[in-house]
Amino acid sequence: MSGRPVVGVITFPGSNGDYDALHAMREDVGVEARFVDYRETSLSGIDAVVLPGGFSYGDHLRCGAIARFAPVMAPLAEFAGAGGPVLGICNGFQVLTEAHLLPGALLRNGTMRFHCHWSHIRIESDRTAWTGGIAEATVLRLPVAHGEGSYFADPETIAMLEAQGQIVARYCTPDGTVDESSNRNGSVGSIAAVSNAAGNVVGIMPHPERAANELVGGADGLRLLRAVLGGAVAAPA
């Protein structure tokens, strides 16, 4: 890595959180950021990757199912395999599960409705690239905006995730209590974010990039977006 870290924001056809992620990274976090088109075949020069929210391919079939086969996904898998920090937000999270870079799947919200509201999450692991330095049990306030955000994995997988510390955050009340009232989409174990075993790839349903400025409702998301700068941006060659 030479000089300032560069964050790549991948744009798939139908991504719509791409501008927000780019803006937050540039203006609020203050790093260099650029779009990476889904047809690109290399991530060279990129130190961290964000897969933004949206409706890639209209969310047709399943969210993320078609985007997963985009050309950029091959270098992304390599990048992730080499320990490069990757953050999938909302639709980006769905793409990462479809691509088997993260465990589990995201189902239709239990209410069968789209949910847009500010939510609270409790950080469960500070051992990931995107939560380093955020003490466990810290409560962050972030907006959600999804129709299919109900995290699912079978019981064995969940047990494994628990054992390996791969559950990154759970929905909670403002005071940090994990209960059903705050688990509005019906996620297994109130899971809002998970990581891969190495901790460099994180998927999160709420939107940190939309909580990067007090003027628009809150800035807790900056803590996640910034965490990656605290060392994890030691990118693969």
């Binding site: 056809p13 409706f55 047709h60 789209f114 847009c116 509201h117 939107h207 939309r210 409702g217």
Partner: protein
């Protein structure tokens, strides 16, 4: 091919209109021409019954960059930027297929905005349905909301406001109005005028199917279901998202002469409007239009309302570049013809010419009507009927009524709707829906913000359409002022019944004049709008509903107001509006119907009051404001308390006792809250500005206390929060 006798009626043309068309052409039209006339001379495209009324509108001001006549209006908002906006109805399609009808309504209004070169930054929606105890209304409501969310959420444009209103008059005739606002640098504003003979016409976006054939004409006849033939339009927001990005990128090149979206009447209206605005002619070959279905006729291609399509006028040397850009966004495009200099719209089907008509015959020659206007008996009687005198003075009983109002569908929290719409995307939302009287959006790269509100009290309009329309403008402008915005201009959507009934035309013509009155008094010109008539079934028409969207600007977006107050704030009521139960929601909820003389509107007082409030906000003196609307003073105070999570204590004397004091409605009343040490200053400033200001009490505690009587805030909040869900699903109990 000869036209069978009477066939013109199937495309909603009258016998006289048929004769006129034949005279103008000097021959009988071909079938394709007839279909095109049917669409272009429909109410939707031709504004037959409304155009003559538009002369009343004030449409210009120094800050107006584009008035009515283009795809949307535009106003200067400073920093070299313009706000581009318009509201449009999708009532009839939504009555037939609520999800897709509402979804494609959003798709259509968004296309109007980016066609002007503007990047869409907000959507609002004004919805009206019959009561939710009718299963069909529940179905319509749930699916309309899902459709608006489904399309807008996928596009990634935040939905930041609107209205939901229920009244039995909307049984079978829901109203679905969608507004979109976009931002564009002045020099990028694009107008849809075909120019330069030899320039190339291209169709871009979705392939053409048999969607919605006859849509434009079916909004002009009484029974949408019966007259509807062809296939229901199913929208593809994913494709539209690509189209937005591609079109905005295309406008960065010098290759585009004009751009026109295809909405009602599809290729017909986009071709005709583009050529007639530019004073040129055009020739296309329908065989070159990419199709989704086999065996489509020229008629079908010309009148299809397939969504997500654009007509582009391209310089010949740019065709390749344009095609390349579209392909990069995975969009099809095809060259279908070119601009000509003979003023004719000529359509070929291969070698055969199937249409050859001077463009102006479709537009300028469209007949207009000013039928008889006569007020109906019912509104006259309803207005004359005296409202009940106050009979309740015990605060406990008044609190009981407050409970009833808070839980009623027109007043209860809109959260179940708002939460189905993405309102945080684009990260501009400073005051979110439900948090203030209008939405506030920041404009990135500047210090400014926009304030936007969409309003209409249909009930006032039904009792007195001219006064009601003035109220609609006043309310939208007041809402914008209450968050700190200076109203700049308005857009309107005229939703009415059959104008050929004298009572219907009376409502329409009076409402237009009411809009014109208030628009002039408040200096907010009309820059765009849309008309939807024939919203009636079986002699029962919708409440006349001139929906008004107002856009305002905040020079410093950090100085804005919301409904939130803080413990120990002093509560003041500004303005001299006199509450009345006439036309009130209180009567509708308690008596099952509303009647009487709606509140008076003193437009000078309203102007002074709203100017004062936005000046105080801009000066940083005021951060909490909420106008008194449906449900009156106590409903407004309680909404603020619930949203703030802080109760209040008011002096019984300052609130007053009785239904009128608690629940009566008026214009020109704004509740504000300021820290105790600022209240004297505000009172002095109000006095200096000639604004009546009355202290009501203080914010604090977890109850609403008026004199000796109190109600727990959490109980009231639960009633208000669950009201809409309860009405929707009888299995959800009040305590759930």
């Amino acid at each position: 091919m000869a036209i069978p006798d009477g066939a013109w009626r199937e495309v909603a043309l009258s016998d006289d209109e048929w004769t006129r068309i034949s005279e103008l052409l000097g021959r009988e039209p071909t079938p394709v021409e007839l279909g095109m006339f049917g669409s272009m001379w429909s109410e939707h495209c031709g504004y037959k019954h409304s155009r003559p009324l538009f002369r009343f509108f004030r449409t210009s001001a120094p800050w107006v960059i584009q008035g009515p006549g283009e795809n949307a209006g535009a106003v200067d908002i400073g920093d070299g930027l313009a706000a581009v906006f318009k509201v449009e109805s999708h009532n009839h399609p939504s009555a037939v297929e609520p999800y897709e009808g509402a979804a494609t309504g959003v798709g259509g209004i968004v296309r109007d905005i980016f066609t002007m070169g503007a990047r869409p930054i907000a959507v609002l929606d004004g919805l009206r349905f019959g009561h939710l105890d009718v299963p069909r209304n529940r179905y319509l409501f749930s699916n309309v909301v899902a459709g608006i969310g489904g399309y807008g959420n996928c596009l990634g444009i935040p939905n930041v406001g609107g209205e939901v209103f229920f009244d039995p008059a909307f049984n079978g005739n829901p109203l679905v109005n969608a507004m979109c606002v976009g931002i564009v640098p002045h020099d990028k504003l694009t107008r849809a005028r075909a120019e330069g003979p030899g320039n190339v016409l291209m169709v871009a976006g979705a392939d053409t199917g048999r969607d919605g054939l006859g849509g434009a004409t079916f909004s002009s006849v009484d029974d949408p279901e019966a007259s509807h033939r062809g296939v229901i339009q199913v929208g593809n927001p994913f494709l539209e998202r690509q189209l937005i990005e591609a079109c905005l990128e295309l406008l960065e090149t010098d290759d585009i002469v004009a751009m026109q979206d295809m909405g009602a009447a599809g290729l017909t209206s986009s071709l005709v409007e583009c050529t007639s605005r530019g004073g040129v002619g055009a020739e296309i070959d329908v065989q070159k239009v990419p199709r989704r279905e086999e065996g489509m006729t020229a008629y079908e291609v010309m009148l299809s309302e397939s969504q997500e399509r654009m007509l582009l006028v391209v310089r010949p040397e740019g065709v390749e570049r344009v095609t390349g850009i579209l392909e990069r966004w995975s969009l099809h495009a095809a060259v279908v013809g070119q601009v000509t200099d003979d003023g004719l719209v000529r359509v070929r089907d291969g070698d055969e010419v199937v249409v050859e008509v001077p463009a102006g015959l479709f537009t300028d020659e469209c007949p207009t009507y000013e039928p008889e206007a006569k007020e109906g008996e019912r509104p006259i009687a309803a207005r004359a009927r005296a409202v009940p005198a106050d009979s309740i003075s015990d605060p406990e009983d008044l609190f009981g009524r407050l409970d009833q109002l808070l839980g009623s569908p027109n007043i209860a929290s809109r959260r179940p709707v708002i939460e189905q719409y993405d309102h945080t995307i684009l990260t501009n939302t400073v005051v979110a829906p439900g948090q203030g009287d209008a939405a506030v959006l920041r404009i990135k790269g500047t210090t400014r913000g926009l304030a936007i509100s969409l309003d209409c009290n249909s009930r006032y309009c039904s009792l007195d359409p001219r006064l009601g329309a003035r109220h609609a403008v006043a309310e939208a402008a007041r809402n914008v002022s209450c968050v700190g915005g200076t109203p700049l201009a308005l857009t309107n959507c005229l939703n009415f019944g059959n104008p050929r009934r004298p009572a219907g035309y009376y409502q329409l013509s009076q409402a237009v004049q009411g809009i014109a009155d208030a628009s002039a008094a408040f200096t907010i010109p009309v820059v765009s709008g849309n008309v939807s008539l024939y919203n009636e079934t079986d002699q029962s028409a919708v409440l006349p509903t001139p929906t008004i969207g107002v856009v305002g600007v905040l020079d410093d977006v950090t100085r804005h107001a919301s409904m939130n107050w803080q413990t120990d704030d002093v509560l003041l009521l500004l303005g001299a509006g006199e509450p009345t139960l006439g036309g009130s929601e209180y009567l509708a909820v308690i008596e099952g119907e509303s009647w009487g003389q709606p509140p008076a509107l003193d437009m000078d007082a309203e102007v002074a009051l709203t100017r004062f409030v936005r000046q105080q906000i801009a000066a940083g003196e005021l951060r909490t404001a909420h106008d008194v609307g449906l449900g009156g003073l106590l409903v407004a105070l309680t909404e603020m308390a619930i949203l703030s999570g802080v109760g209040f204590l008011a002096d019984a004397g300052s609130i007053g006792a009785g239904e009128t004091a608690w629940f009566g409605e008026s214009a020109s009343r704004i509740l504000v809250a300021v820290p105790a040490n600022a209240s004297a200053g505000l009172l002095t400033a109000a006095e200096a500005a000639g604004i009546r200001a009355r202290p009501l009490g203080m914010a604090g505690g977890d109850a609403i206390t008026i004199g000796d009587a109190a109600r727990s805030l959490s109980d009231l909040a639960r009633t208000w929060e669950t009201g809409l869900e309860r009405a929707l699903d009888t299995t959800v109990s009040a305590t759930a």
